[in-house]
């Protein structure tokens, strides 16, 4: 069964460094999402992406964040200058047009030291 994949599974970085989290959504899906979950807290929406542009972003998704679909398969989340509070699990999700079920990847655990 097709699934969303994410790499790396765990990323450790120093505060102020740039990180890029990678996702490969399910191949015929058209909407893509990033969510994050700080340890012990709820899953929070960050951004949705459709037709090569951001369709919505939350207040968390400030100028330090960007998303890109550099080719036909990858979907990336870049954090330009990481802060300690960016430490969280980051989930990518995708959905086929006209359906309601979002399929989530296994997540990338980001640790900012």
């Amino acid at each position: 069964e097709p699934e969303v994949t994410q790499t790396p599974s765990h990323q450790v970085t120093q505060m102020g460094q740039e990180v890029i989290l990678r996702c490969v959504p399910i191949s015929n899906h058209l909407y893509f999402y990033w969510y994050r979950q700080i340890l012990g807290q709820k899953v929070e929406f960050l951004v949705s992406f459709y037709n090569n542009e951001i369709s919505e972003k939350s207040e968390i998704f400030d100028d330090q964040f960007s998303v890109e679909r550099p080719d036909g398969s990858n979907f990336t989340l870049k954090i330009r200058s990481t802060k300690l509070e960016d430490s969280a699990m980051y989930f990518c999700a995708s959905i086929y047009y006209g359906t309601d079920t979002q399929y989530f990847g296994p997540g990338t655990r980001l640790t900012v030291l």
């Binding site: 709820k42 899953v43 929070e44 369709s55 699990m89 989930f91 309601d100 979002q102």
Partner: protein
Amino acid sequence: SQQGEEDPQALSIQEGENATMNCSYKTSINNLQWYRQNSGRGLVHLILIRSNEREKHSGRLRVTLDTSKKSSSLLITASRAADTASYFCATDEFIQGAQKLVFGQGTRLTINP
């Protein structure tokens, strides 16, 4: 904004017993979904119930939805140790055609052998 809130926050039962988790939300929805998350892992979609449905079954899972009370429940029958996980409800919001999910805090379910 919409907010799913699960109740209880933690539930511990014996294997074989039934587990019931509740979710409340604040605004109107198109559908409500339940996800499972094993410790530190990704989100697995369990079941989706639409706003015009009152009950739905999938294997040992039974979900109810009461839109007048803005609440949903997830029942897991004949629980197994492998059901130990956190369970989240998620309501949908549509902005500019793109769905985003709003998650609750989750219920941490522990099944004791």
